[in-house]
């Protein structure tokens, strides 16, 4: 495994029944990097991300998170260890998945309070700071249903940040948002990138990938077919599949 990588993936493979979704995936992520993961629909980008945080089980291969094996040659650690390893990561979903029965504040403090046993006062204090950071300090008593999609997604990011993750995974965080609302979410993510949060972002926002990502992974049916700087991927695409994909996105 590569020295200094916070995530190392080797030979990751995953099938759903007979359909092989991931086949021998390899990549590394270094501390503080923002990685954009792009590619056509249905090639397994979400599955790849979900394997990293143990929402899907890999069939084969290894995943090393911050020096610890989540899975080694297809063999998983016990549930407790997996949980501990994954606690260094947070995840933001396409459809937010806020807890609808809790206020914004409770959405933020529940996990620190019940998972980490942090005392409520200190969790509330941190929640205030993080809400300010995502620009929603005035909405802590709101219910999720009273918020716009963009606001809900910013709360989802805030909820993940409350657990002080080393790494944040985003699965198409702006895909279910109106164009106008995308920007408020992207600007929070941009700010996190500037603060050197390690982030893996599956996205169709080529502007974000181009401007914010340190590296772009291009996933096709054959796996990761490019792992390069945004400049190289977007301006000098080496592969006809990538060329075609980028042209089709531009055309939209």
């Amino acid at each position: 495994m590569v020295e200094g990588a916070v995530i190392s993936v080797r030979g990751l493979s995953k099938s759903f029944g007979k359909t092989k979704v991931l086949n021998n995936i390899n990549f590394d992520v270094y501390k503080g990097e923002t990685i954009a993961i792009i590619g056509p629909s249905g090639v397994g980008k979400s599955t790849m991300l979900r394997c990293l945080i143990n929402l899907e089980k890999a069939d084969a291969g290894s995943i090393l998170i911050d020096g610890e094996y989540l899975v080694r040659n297809g063999h998983y650690e016990n549930e407790r260890t997996c949980r501990k390893i994954c606690s260094q990561m947070g995840m933001v979903f396409q459809s937010f998945h806020l807890f609808p029965h809790l206020t914004v504040l409770d959405n933020l403090i529940y996990a620190p309070k019940y998972v980490n046993r942090e005392d409520e006062a200190s969790a509330k204090k941190r929640a205030d700071e993080i809400l300010r950071k995502v620009g929603l300090a005035d909405r802590k008593e709101s219910m999720p249903s009273q918020l716009s999609g963009g606001q809900q997604q910013r709360i989802a990011i805030a909820r993940a940040l409350m657990m002080n993750p080393e790494i944040l995974l985003f699965d198409e965080p702006t895909s279910s948002l109106d164009p106008l609302l995308k920007n408020e979410v992207l600007s929070v993510m941009r700010q996190l990138a500037e603060e050197k949060m390690t982030m893996l972002v599956v996205t169709h926002e080529m502007g974000f990938a181009k401007e914010v990502a340190d590296r772009v992974l291009f996933v096709s049916e054959d796996g990761i077919i490019a792992d390069d700087s945004p400049d190289k991927i977007f301006n000098l695409p080496s592969n006809p599949i990538i060329k075609e994909f980028i042209c089709s996105i531009k055309a939209v």
Binding site: H97, P100, Y110, Y114, V115, N116, R159
Partner: protein, 214 residues
């Protein structure tokens, strides 16, 4: 028929309330938690337990509650050595019957909590128990509140079925008064009792639905 006659019946019927109200509360206190536990088993994946549970629910929902009352009072002693008292037989039948219904209601509610909720809880580090207690059950209860309200109101009226075991709950007392006095106004008074109870429950659930709206 005069007003003081009605008031006196109202008073006489209140002797039966201990059975009616007692049966109601004992049934709720036991069948709701039992139904909750069973609903989690029912959405689980254990094949044999699933079968057994499926059979139990089929029996309870597939036969009249009156028949179940007969079984636990008259039948049980024929197949086992247990002879329950009238009221205990009623309690057992009601709890088992209502637990089956609550199980099915809660099962529906559990299926209404999206997969995303479980995933969000998991990536935040919640244990399975914490996820169920803090995230899933509150949402499930909110989803099922209208059906649960319905079940509570049905239960109020179903308590009158124990009259077939000759227990002196309010309907049975009313029947006796009607026979003695040759005057059916006792039935009207008994209706008032049920209407008051269902009115209170309706208001309670309206309040709960508002309080837990999200």
């Amino acid at each position: 028929m005069n007003f003081s006659y009605l008031v006196s019946i109202f008073g006489q019927l209140s002797d039966g309330l201990k059975f009616t109200v007692g049966l109601f509360f004992v049934t709720i206190i036991f069948s709701v938690p039992l139904g909750l536990v069973l609903s989690f088993i029912r959405v689980g994946s254990h094949k044999i337990i699933q079968r057994i549970l499926g059979g139990y629910i089929w029996l309870m929902r597939g036969t009249p509650l009156i028949l179940q009352l007969y079984f636990f009072y008259y039948g049980l002693s024929l197949v086992t050595s247990i002879q329950l008292s009238r009221f205990n037989a009623a309690i057992v039948a009601f709890i088992l019957n209502y637990a089956a219904y609550f199980c099915e209601i809660f099962r529906g509610g559990l299926l209404g909590v999206s997969k995303g909720q479980y995933e969000a809880a998991k990536v935040l580090g919640f244990s399975t128990l914490q996820t169920n207690v803090r995230i899933v059950i509150p949402q499930m209860l909110r989803i099922t509140l209208p059906s649960v309200a319905n079940e509570f109101i049905t239960l109020v009226k179903d308590t009158s079925l124990i009259t077939v075991l000759a227990i002196d709950e309010i309907l049975n007392l009313a029947k006796k008064i009607v026979n003695t006095d040759v005057n059916i106004s006792a039935y009207a008074v008994v209706a008032v009792y049920y209407l008051i109870a269902t009115f209170l429950l309706t208001k309670l659930f309206e309040y709960l639905e508002k309080k837990f709206a999200y």
